[in-house]
């Protein structure tokens, strides 16, 4: 097992160095090209659902990804490897939100149809599971030493974001059950507003709907798709900031140790 300091050196952009595929670069590029071609063929020619084709593409990229992360583990240790994994995965999650944003704002699809690349399988479960997964990983990283104001802000942000997804999951399951009682179990209950956003709990509840916080520009006036685009953007930026701060601090500590030796 590596001692966790193999590649630690003071760099201006430690995150970019961490995320670089290094010896897996050729495999990533090749599989990405192959995967995108196959994705197009499966979606347009074979009429495969977008979420299915995207899952295959992500599965392909996982092969060099896992190799790269194993190398990270050997070179940098478990904490940095987990940071590398979560940063990469959160990057993909950001692409998902970007895809939704483009589908709605650029392609002018309906909100229900603007479900991104993977969420079309089930937006509620995908985002609920993912966000609680992020909370768990962030807590783990903090436990293993990634602690800074950025990390604390990230933990608070991810908890709030996950609370919103929990509210949406509860509403989703309740409406789904009610639809079953109405004899319409196949009708989708996905995409309902959450706590924030247009027609969300803050904007419509008896407690807050008629108060000043029922119509806070952006916070209770923006549609769900945009609210979660910004939830996710904030999460990604805070994760990057926490990772950057940790890697810089770690490299600085390593550099000091070398000076003393």
């Amino acid at each position: 097992m590596a001692n966790g300091s193999g590649a630690a050196r003071l760099s201006r952009y430690p995150l970019l160095e961490l995320l670089h595929p290094r010896e897996q670069t050729r495999a990533v590029v090749l599989l990405l090209a192959l995967g995108l071609t196959g994705w197009g063929a499966l979606v347009w020619a074979a009429r495969m659902p977008v979420w299915g084709a995207t899952s295959i593409l992500v599965g392909l990229l996982l092969v060099p990804g896992v190799r790269k992360w194993r190398a990270d583990l050997r070179r940098e240790g478990l904490t940095v490897m987990v940071l590398s994994v979560i940063l990469t995965m959160q990057g993909f999650h950001s692409l998902e939100h970007l895809a939704q944003w483009i589908q709605y704002h650029i392609f002018h699809w309906q909100p229900q149809r603007s479900s991104g690349l993977i969420s079309a399988a089930n937006a509620e479960w995908v985002h609920f599971v993912w966000n609680w997964g992020v909370v768990f990983v962030v807590a783990l990283l903090m436990f293993r030493g990634i602690r800074s104001p950025w990390a604390w802000a990230l933990l608070a942000w991810t908890l709030a974001h996950s609370a919103e997804h929990t509210y949406m999951m509860v509403r989703y399951l309740q409406v789904k059950q009610e639809l079953g009682l109405l004899g319409e179990p196949s009708v989708s209950a996905q995409g309902l507003p959450g706590i924030l956003g247009r027609d969300g709990w803050l904007a419509t509840s008896m407690l807050t709907g008629d108060s000043w916080c029922g119509r806070l520009p952006g916070l209770t006036t923006t549609m769900r798709l945009d609210v979660h685009f910004w939830w996710n953007t904030g999460e990604t930026l805070l994760l990057a900031a926490a990772g950057h701060a940790y890697l810089r601090r770690r490299a600085a500590t390593f550099s000091q140790r070398q000076d003393w030796m």
Partner: protein, 481 residues
């Protein structure tokens, strides 16, 4: 009140006795007039035909008596000429052959007489009549019918296609002439037509419009002298699990296909004009965006506090859309929205207006001569309802304009401003608004108790102005020019 079936209605003083009478259109049975005999007692008179949708009460022939114009199911409009003493003769409007759904009247060309604007609901017409090559010439689309004098009308075809549930005539750009606003159902966007010289051109004053526009009204909700435009659409007013589930199958079965630059949103829209003359939708910010599957929605100062409130009737019965609901009906509660004094709205259930009777046409007028606005609703498959105003708030002034000798005897299109110690209030005289519903030519101003009435300013349809002073609250003032 009497059985009806969800068409429109109109309210005005048809016999000149000072009481407001009610006209109920009926698609299944004969239309009826409910003669107001005082004390909220009415005497029913059936007219010889039904098969009607909308009601306009307007002096078509300029004889000083209010006539009745009905839009029909698959026929051109019918005119019921007021002969005095409660007698009417059925007539046609020569030159008006369009199978109109929505209609309205104003002096569109500035020549002093009243012209007609009307539009069809093409989707329903095609279903009822079957599409044929004659259809676009004789049936569908939107028209401006110019009053040529001598009872004759010529027409300009504004649009080949319309699904018009609502039609409002309102001066959007303050140039002294009304624009034609057509509220279309479902995917066909609303249309606005402006007259430039001798021709009509399409205008795009709104960046957002309702998707399935059911109703249009204009009212100055913030008392700044500029009227806001309100349109109704379909959006649930509650967000509880049961309501959401009831709406969900409908939303997935009738998807709204958007397109680049599509202005339509599935919400009520409140168009607010800024200083630069541009309109912006502020329905959501002002909490007027969701009133259920809404039909007629109109402004009126129901509590007489000097601020226009909103009343919206709603509900839907459709076997194909709601086969999963009991009785195949989306049962909803009519929504009263109280103006908070800053142009925003709050739902008020304590006013007792939350009927579940599936309202369609709706209009407001002082039916018991106590000075405040009462409400009449024409319901679907249920008796019509009259809501007597017992809010007992504030005070009022009612104004009736008369312009004998002109072709516009009730001054349709006139603008009024009442200046008081508690602010200024603005109204206009129009024939119809909401969904298929005629408005009384008598104008109601509400204001707080104790306010001093300073003066009433009137801008007549030809631009001339009048000023009336020495006004007293709780009176009806008739201003004759």
């Amino acid at each position: 009140m009497f059985e009806s079936n969800g068409a429109g209605l109109g309210i005005d003083d048809l016999d000149g006795d000072g009481d407001q009478d009610i006209v109920l259109a009926n698609l299944a049975e004969p239309n009826s007039i409910l003669w107001n005999e005082g004390g909220l007692r009415f005497r029913k008179q059936s007219l010889s035909h039904g098969d009607s949708r909308g009601v306009n009460i307007v002096d078509v022939d300029g004889d000083g008596r209010q006539d009745i114009v009905f839009t029909r199911h698959v026929l051109p409009p019918s005119l019921w000429r007021n002969l005095e003493d409660g007698r009417f003769s059925e007539d046609v409007l020569p030159g008006v052959e369009g199978k109109l759904y929505s209609s309205n009247w104003a002096d569109l060309d500035g020549d002093g007489d009243l012209d007609l604007a009307g539009a069809a609901y093409d989707t329903a017409l095609e279903e009822d009549l079957g599409y044929n090559f004659m259809f676009t010439r004789s049936g569908g689309g939107a028209y401006a019918y110019e009053n040529l004098g001598g009872g004759q009308f010529g027409y300009d075809r504004l649009s080949d296609r319309a699904d018009a549930l609502a039609l409002l005539l309102h001066d959007l750009d303050s140039d002294g002439r009304p624009e034609v606003l057509i509220g279309n159902d479902f995917d066909l966007p609303d249309q606005t037509w402006r007259r430039e010289g001798e021709r009509w051109v399409q205008a795009q004053p709104f960046s957002k419009t309702s998707h399935s526009t059911m109703s249009l009204d204009a009212g100055d909700v913030d008392n700044d002298g500029v009227m806001e435009i309100f349109s109704t659409d379909m959006k649930p007013y509650n967000h509880d699990v049961r309501t959401v589930a009831q709406w969900r199958p409908l939303m997935t079965r009738t998807p709204h296909e958007t397109f680049r630059g599509d202005p339509q949103i599935m919400e009520n829209v409140l168009q607010v004009r800024d200083r630069s003359g541009r309109y912006r939708n502020e329905a959501y910010e002002r909490r007027a965006d969701a009133t259920g599957w809404s039909w007629s929605g109109k402004f009126g100062d129901l509590d007489q506090d000097g601020h226009l409130d909103l009343y919206v009737v709603n509900g839907m019965l459709a076997a194909d859309l709601f086969d999963y609901l009991p009785g195949k009906e989306l049962v909803e509660q009519n929504q009263a929205l109280r103006n908070d004094g800053k142009g925003g709205f709050r739902r008020v259930s304590e006013w007792g207006l939350g009927s579940h009777a599936s309202g369609r046409g709706m209009s407001m007028a002082d039916l018991d001569s106590d000075g405040d606005l009462d409400i009449v609703v024409n319901n679907l498959h249920k008796p019509a309802e009259l809501f007597e105003n017992r809010l007992c708030g504030g005070s009022s002034l009612q104004v009736a304009l008369r312009w004998p000798g002109s072709e516009n005897t009730h001054a349709i299109g006139a603008r009024l401003a009442l200046h008081t110690s508690d602010g200024s209030f603005y109204r206009d005289v129009r024939v119809a608004s909401g969904y298929l519903s005629g408005d009384p030519s008598r104008i109601h101003f509400g204001f707080p108790q104790g306010a001093t009435l300073e003066r009433l300013e009137i801008v007549w349809p030809d631009g001339k102005s009048s000023r009336v002073e020495n006004l007293r609250a709780q009176t009806l003032v008739t201003v004759t020019r």
